[in-house]
């Protein structure tokens, strides 16, 4: 897992967000510590250190590490007595919140998040008063972030158990160190929200004919390059087709859209390493290039090494090379069994076959997209914002979130509103029935959550002096009119 220079942001340092009064400072939630342990590795007294497989920050004194791990163990053991199958998932304290997750038998991952706080200066040189806002963060959001950490590790390394089998504790700790050292730097706990809970996939809206053309392209490539086992197709960082199973695609999508694509688009935007220099394959111009593997095929020193990923296969895992190839805004991921060694010849063949076709498809999609946009009318700033999620196909859509970059995901609404969305989502999670919740926020906003079948829709409306009935009518109207082109995806 690689991190772009722009994406590095030291965890633990709080970022003042908003000054509400004179010199009053607000601090967002931040990562205090993150550790992984296995109680069965050091069961005897004096051997406790052996349990610890990874600890961040690494400069914490040994005994403190042991104490913290011991505390977690104790809490989990203690809560088991109440419900043996569901031990504690989180521990709330005034200053921080701890999250526990056991992804594999006896392997525990713990994440400690410092609660957001407000620092109020005092007169007469007295030290400032600190007010912890312990109710401001949501278990669902950070629990999901923790599970995502594990999924991402597993995508690139396989399970903990696999590393243990291959090289024992030594190999596992090496892998954990290598992966999490970088990955934790990319966690932006201050901007985690409902979308992390969903872990959804944004699908690119497309007409049937263009979609079928993409199908045809994928099938032809898989037929001519028989090494390719799975293909995924994205446009504008949105998914169009996945040959991978849903859960694997979910995490791969997360990696592509929050790490790989932003890392490559930033130099593009900066004008460096311009991709707009077309390659010539035969007599066809194309804009295709590898985002993983060789940066330049013509370089005699080019390396043909690709990242390896692990995907589910019945009861075991399958290890694959991940080739990501992009032409303009269209990206195709080709996955090939890791047992095959990829050569220059193969990459050249792929480049000359896929490059021209993908370039053509990308411009087709772009054209079709513009036609559809013209039909649906000019972009007006709508009077509402929404998040939609479908549990069945993981389709998500948000008009609240701006473009995601490697460093931050920006939202266009106040964090208080985001918190309300999260709360509504927690309420929904408690019951199976279809529900609708309407909340009047402190400001002029109304927040409406609808859950029906496997779908959730959250709408934020800004309507002064509206009453409950009017808001309800408004949302009904929106569902009937505005959402037809959003829901056309499912």
């Amino acid at each position: 897992y690689e991190v772009s220079a722009a994406g590095v942001c030291c965890a633990g340092i709080s970022v003042p967000r908003m000054a509400t009064g004179m010199q009053e400072k607000q601090y967002t939630p931040s990562l205090l510590s993150f550790f992984i342990y296995n109680p069965s590795f050091g069961p005897r007294e004096g051997e406790e250190e052996k349990k610890i497989l990874f600890y961040h920050p690494c400069d914490v004194e040994k005994n403190e590490k042991i104490r913290n791990v011991g505390l977690c163990e104790a809490i989990v053991q203690f809560t088991r007595t109440f419900c043996p199958t569901k031990p504690a998932k989180s521990l709330h304290t005034q200053k921080n919140r701890q999250f526990f997750f056991e992804p594999e038998d006896n392997f525990w991952i713990v994440m400690v998040v410092r609660n957001p706080m407000i620092e109020k200066p005092n007169k007469d040189g007295k030290p400032p008063t600190i007010e912890y806002q312990e109710e401001e963060i949501l278990d669902t959001v950070y629990g999901a972030v923790l599970r995502q950490c594990y999924s991402m590790y597993k995508l690139f390394n396989g399970t903990f158990g696999r590393a243990m089998e291959a090289g024992g504790v030594e190999l596992l700790t090496q892998k954990l160190e290598k992966f999490f050292y970088r990955y934790l730097q990319t966690l932006h706990l201050q901007s985690c929200d409902l979308l992390d809970v969903f872990g959804g996939i944004s699908f690119f809206p497309l007409d049937k004919m263009t979609y079928l053309k993409i199908q045809s392209f994928v099938n032809r490539v898989e037929e001519s390059l028989s090494l390719v086992k799975y293909t995924a197709f994205l446009y504008n960082d949105q998914l169009i087709w996945s040959g991978l199973e849903q859960d694997d695609m979910r995490i791969l999508y997360k990696y592509l859209t929050t790490s790989l694509f932003p890392r490559h688009s930033e130099p593009e935007l900066a004008g460096r390493d311009s991709p707009l220099r077309p390659e010539v394959a035969g007599n066809l111009l194309h804009y295709g290039r590898f985002l993983t593997g060789p940066a330049n095929l013509k370089d005699p020193e080019a390396k043909f090494r690709f990242p390896k990923i692990f995907v589910n296969k019945e009861d075991s895992y399958e290890e694959l090379h991940l080739i990501v190839y992009k032409a303009m805004s269209a990206a195709a991921c080709f996955m090939i069994s890791a047992s095959v060694e990829l050569t220059r010849e193969f990459c050249e063949q792929l480049d000359s076959l896929v490059g021209p076709q993908l370039t053509l498809l990308a411009s087709d999609i772009c054209e079709q997209f513009n036609i559809n946009r013209r039909i649906s009318g000019p972009d007006k700033e709508p009077q509402f914002k929404f998040i939609y999620f479908n549990h069945m196909n993981l389709a998500e859509k948000s008009t609240i979130h701006m473009r995601k970059t490697a460093s931050v995901s920006l939202t266009s609404v106040h964090p208080d509103l985001m918190k309300i969305l999260g709360d509504i989502n927690c309420d929904f999670a408690r019951v199976d029935e279809d529900e609708e919740i309407i909340v009047k926020a402190m400001t002029d906003y109304w927040v409406v959550g609808k859950k029906s079948d496997q779908r959730e829709l959250y709408v934020i409306l800004n309507q002064k002096n509206a009453n409950l009935i009017e808001v309800n009518e408004e949302v009904k109207r929106l569902c009937a009119t505005q959402f037809n082109n959003i829901f056309f995806l499912d």
Partner: protein, 591 residues
Amino acid sequence: MSDEHYLELCDNPVQFENASSVNNVFFDEANKQVFAVRSGGATGVVVKGPDDKNSVAFRMDDKGEVKCIKFSIGNKILAVQRTSKSVVFPDKRSVKLLKSQSINVNWYQYCPETAVILLSTTVQGNVLQPFAFRSGTMSKMSKFEIELPVVPKPAKLSLSERDIAMATIYGQLYVMYLKHHSRTANSPSAEVVLYHLPREGACKKSHVLKLNTTGKFALNIVDNLVVVHHQSSQTSLIFDIRLREPDCAVNTHQPVLPARSIHPYRIPLSGPTVVPSQPAVPCQLYSSSWSVFQPDIIISASEGYLWYLQVKLPPTVNLLQDKGKLMDFLLRRRDCKMVILSVCSQILEGGEKGSLPVVATVFDKLNQVYKEYLEAEQTYTLAMESGPSRGSAAQKRPVRTQAVIDQSDMYTHVLSAFTERKGVSHKFIIAVLMEYIRSLNQFQITVQHYLYELVIKTLVQHNLFYMLHQFLQYHVLSDSKPLVRATPQPRLSTANDEIVEVLLSKQQVLGALRFIRSVGGHDNVSARKFLDAAQQTGDQMLFYTVFRFFQQRNQRLRGNPAFNPGEHCEEHVVHFKQLFGEQALMKPATV
């Protein structure tokens, strides 16, 4: 090799007494009748037509050598020509001169099909003057000149009637000129030059068929193909003037297929009355005694046979490697349907790399023709609805030729068997089905539900539920009617219900259960529907599994494995007890 003969003589030739010193044989192109005149008619004239109705036998007085003999249409009047300047009608009739034209004529050709006569004029004979006969009138058409390879000096007759033929190809009248090679004119091989003769307007040189050889040739037209027989090599070539050659100048054509001889033909020894045990002797093909008539007639006077020439399509499949070109060729042939469908099956057998682009090309070509037919049909229907009074000429209902291969043809003869075939990867099956659906969509043809069912069945059989969801998401597996613009859930659950119905109707009970579980709908489905389907299969283990599945569901939802009365599963409970006994039923868990 015998599979490569793509031309054949018909099985039921017209037989007549072979030509001899006492028996003269005449052929009338208009009525397609053969006249066998024995001893100038004194010992009998036997007339044989294409079918028995046209066969007549009579005697007439021998008044000298018969030069030509013909019946009028319907065998009403017989005309006999014995001298170069007189024609005798045996029945006494009067003949009236309707119109006359005075031209010096070298020779003439008549095309009965279009009632056009072509006169060779001028000294060289290469200026041709056509006349059209229509309802008792004769109208002069514009004359045209055939380009001769060499202009002789001094001028002399240089265009022979043997080198000119008239025929209708794709509904248009053409004058075909067999242009022999000439050393002096720098034309290394012979060619056939086609002049298009429209009803109105000037005649234009339109196509050149390259023969790539020299020698004696004869022409036929079969199924809109120009067939060129080459005597010395005893082979024939076929040309399709609608097939465009990418590497040739416009309207210059190479043979569609390599030269092959007509399929060997055996003549029963005893002649007309066939005795099964009688050995047959091979017939000498391309014999110098053959006479060739338009459009598709070959007569062997010495053996007493008249054949119709036919094109056999199956051998062409292996001779034409380019499948796109093969489809272009086949789609224009009369009896093409089964051959086209067999080609489709054949390319799907492949398994060779790069067959998908070929499959796509073939589907696109089929659907192009299919779409044209659907459009013509629609135009016709609209015209009929708007009333026959509008538009002076009554609209003709479009003819559905064999080239119209619709979805049901593809499903029945190709796709259904293909998806069942063992050893074909499901990836390829899905790719092919999607390619067909893509092609139909491209031509804006509404996809029939049974094609979607094939896709769904294949996906479910291989547990590819996520792919299925994605297809549903992009409406690839829905009909092309405007989408219901409402909240998403009713529509999606309708799609799910439909899929379940499809799977149950195909007896894919477990597949249906797995599917509904994958969409999270298994808590709400009707158990009865699944149990009915499972019971109908007669598979006891399947019934057991499904029954157990729902008992467990009941247990989970209601804490009791029993079915509610509202679910109407009483008969299934009885059936289950009969099969597996009372004790096999799940008991409510005791607290």
